[in-house]
Symmetry: D5
Subunit: 147 residues, 10 copies
């Protein structure tokens, strides 16, 4: 058994039962962003959350244990994503990557925005010209230091 198999069972069950990520997240008591990432095999659940997830998706005891094991992360089958919804984010890295770098360095100095001490919220922004997807990210600034 592997985490991948548990992820596939979760996805398959979600389709069969017609569940929603936001409802699942509400039951777990955490953000929909983090819980979805966890169900897709990218985050590690604590025993309590794992128990709730296991109940929702009808996981066995062994499958539940895999939810508590740190996964080998990376959710995409190719280094440049082919799916248009995901590609747009890769495109942002291509177009804005050097801009992010310049502005982080100008505001903070030599360092990075952490992708580990990180959180994110995605929401709908109503707009008369067509609603917009809004994503708010925040990651701790980590500085390179001399030694």
């Amino acid at each position: 058994m592997s985490r991948l198999e548990v992820t596939e069972k979760i996805i398959s069950t979600k389709v069969a039962k017609g569940l929603k990520w936001s409802d699942i997240a509400a039951k777990v008591g955490l953000s929909k962003e983090w819980v979805t990432a966890g169900c897709l095999g990218q985050m590690t659940f604590d025993p309590n959350a794992a128990g709730i997830i296991a109940t929702i998706f009808g996981l066995t005891e062994e499958e539940k244990k895999w939810l508590m094991v740190v996964p080998y992360r990376g959710s995409l089958p190719t280094s440049v994503p082919t799916d248009p919804t995901i590609y747009r984010f890769y495109e942002l890295v291509q177009v804005y990557g050097t801009t992010w770098k310049e502005l982080i360095h100008e505001e903070f100095g030599d360092g990075i925005m952490s992708a580990i001490d990180f959180k994110m919220d995605m929401s709908r922004l109503p707009d008369p010209n067509g609603d917009r997807v809004q994503i708010v990210m925040s990651g701790k600034y980590l500085a390179y230091k001399t030694y």
Copy 2:
């Protein structure tokens, strides 16, 4: 002459003169995110903005014209970025890519967040545990339709 040469001259002049992107953006009258991307060869300036940029960086008339030509976009030398500051954003695509996809589809249906009809703001979020980089993105939702 090419847009790349103009970009290199802008970057080189910025170092030599010790300029700041936020000051440059304030003179242009647009956001620091868009203006920086433009100076790095990723956006197209209108004649007025191009004139201001040309003055700041001492560009020739021909160099100024290149600022008004739509560039061949893509600011990174490799498909997976090697620079740690930029890599963290690529890592987000790897870890959260399928999550973004799931949540956009759950909230909006089958479609994407546009990376064209898109805007972004980057700011400092003071935090007692260490300040954070905050990025707010918003892109128009575009739906796949049947035909």
Copy 3:
């Protein structure tokens, strides 16, 4: 279960039963281009269309549900296609890619032709020197804007 398995069942059944995409599309009541892409795992069916497809291909209730889930798009096994029929389209991107870019920018300004708000029609063009494949594409123009 996964969408890929449903796609494989559809393709396999089509061969076994000797069905035609245009007939299937006619029953669904949508274009042959969109319905074929959907059956090949690239589009999302609504409940009505999914029901018709399920009937045609003898899908189970769970398989039918997968037709209504947004798929991870990308129908090719390699980033440069090896199949000659599909490669010719990749070749057009290699040979005409920069031309399309120049002409879109000349006519519309800085922006793109949407591949989401997009439709397409493929037909036979009788020609005494040998019939021709005609493809008419139309995609909404989306502009990059300043902010």
Copy 4:
């Protein structure tokens, strides 16, 4: 000297003089699609067209000769294009590639749409919801035959 240098001179001169591809094509007396591709180093001009192009861009006699030499085709710096305007066409190959293949085979049999005996027209399609880019392609059908 190489064709690439001639192409760069043409692009550079076009920016400096503010020329338009459609005007250039009109002077040559051919479609804007073909002439732009030729100026971008993807097609071979005959002596008459080469002379007109040479006059427009102020090319030397030797540069003009390069316009009449068959070029090494391929206009993109990477196998998956990074520029968003061009990437959308690559995305169409990813999403619709297998659909094109199926429909060509259903209508014509085992063969391809030629990318050599090929022509194309790009135009603006006015639309109240936002104008659309329309591309009409036609390529001769070539059949695989037994032997």
Copy 5:
């Protein structure tokens, strides 16, 4: 079921029964080059030939139908082949590719040798210094035309 499975069954049966491609081709009544390519999943058989192949290899009715479906072509597992016998042909493309291009253009003008309207014969050329493999290829010349 897929064409790949049919191909694997054909190869496996050929080894088990000790058949020869030239004998199989003789029964089909076509060249050994075309029939072998077809059995290896690269060509489409008509009903008559498919029937003969099905009999030889003991294929089921459904497997026989797959022989009549246009395959997704490309017979190599990597873009640069690792097998020495096949690599030598790739090496010829590396060493002689630009020569073929120059000589085709010199003799015919701007165009290509079709790989679709194409045929090929491979034979043994007796030679006192060691017999030689002789391959005669012929493909229709297709011209790029202006429009």
Copy 6:
């Protein structure tokens, strides 16, 4: 100085003077295929041939010496060629590679067609349905032996 520079000078001079490969080959007294490959930096000339080539293209004494140095072979800028004329040969390797392998092994046993002890002739094959490019290749069969 390098062989590449000599090759570029040869190509550039050929365009400027309007020379033909077949005429050059006739003066050298060897086949047009071999001489073209040599001029394109893929073969090594002996002193006599190098002298003739040097005279035709106005090479210096040092440039002539480079013609007699064994080159680093490989004439293509990418492992999968982008130029359509050359790609068709790569496509033949993709489609027919396993067929060539099978037929060589069936006729000769376990071994290869040499790409070193190899010769080739390209000619025009008149045909009422459009002239054809004919290529005749012959390479010595080399056997794998046990030891």
Copy 7:
């Protein structure tokens, strides 16, 4: 069934029975280098040798037949090997590749060392500073010739 399956069975049986390649080779009556390569799916056995191998590893009649079929060669899962023992040989190609080329050309002229008409012996070289692996390779020199 495929040659790969036979190879896996041979490797698996070798582990289970604790056999040694040199003993197996002695029974076959050929060098340990060639026999090991053959058992690993890189060489073609004649009926006699195949019979001996089949007996040693308990192969079925059909599995034995696969040993006599020319394999698709290439024993590594990636183009740059990850295994350190094998990588060292790749490293030799990287570091000494151009040296081998220069010295072969200096001694023999323009040509190659055949990897087909080739044999090899690997042995232990006792050394007070630590024993050494000695590999003696010999391959026929093949000359490029003019034509």
Copy 8:
């Protein structure tokens, strides 16, 4: 200045003066294999050898210093070599890589043949069927140890 420039000057001078690697090595007093690798930028010369090389190739004092700096190794422009003479060695890694691994492990245990504590000799092996290239390699065996 860089080591690459020194290497290019050495190669260029060798062609211009018609020198031979074996003569150069004799003057240096080391093997032709090591000296050639050093001149091609893959080894580090000591002051004495560097002085001899500098005299032979007319290097400046600064160029001579570069010969004594440890180079960034790797002499090939692509990870899979395109040059046929060098490719044959890569092919040996593909075909015999797993065999070398098996035989080293069988004879020595878990470890590698060092490519650092390594030496090599290349020579001509006269043979009535055509002379052969013989390469004798020896590298220290290094064992993986537990800790």
Copy 9:
């Protein structure tokens, strides 16, 4: 059966039983770094250690034998790792690779740090600003020598 299957069984059993690598290593009597690498299929166990591992994980006799076979090393699914925890080490190679090279050469001369005659210790370094991961590596220096 293959080593990979044994590795997967070990990992799966570890999750199911909730074992810890450090406890397993203590039972084996070797460092946790080496034992973990061995259990993950990267090292070769001697009979004694293999027996202990087999008991802990409930391996069969045949599975135990695989632990004593030298594995094909390389534990990552892609050449650039996608998992953030592992990527950070790759990032160190990208950022510090040339520094390591310079400092090794400055201190020792032309040579390498062995990755074979190598050991490593990973531990927790308590720190009031947040505990740190400390890794101490030591590898034998191996010199390139002239010959």
Copy 10:
């Protein structure tokens, strides 16, 4: 001007003047690891350190400014390094990558060792069997948290 040009000037001057990284670091007053990385274009100097570096290497005022600009990091020309000294570190990632991951997670939980809040020391470890390269790394542990 670019940081790369400054780096090349520093390296070139170091060779010409015969400087040592440890002496340079002593003058700057920081570790040899950090200073070398900085001189190789991977770290950002503060004005004081930049002034010292500029004096040592005879940099102009503009070149000195580049030392204070955050660089685009990544010091290797290929994603898998070809240089043997650097490759050994990549090999450690391949062989020990999953082990590092397991042990970090076992000791600390789900998180990473920072490569930003990181320091390192490289030294010589005298050993009667041959001196060893010792590298001590320490990076802050960063935890993934739920949100």
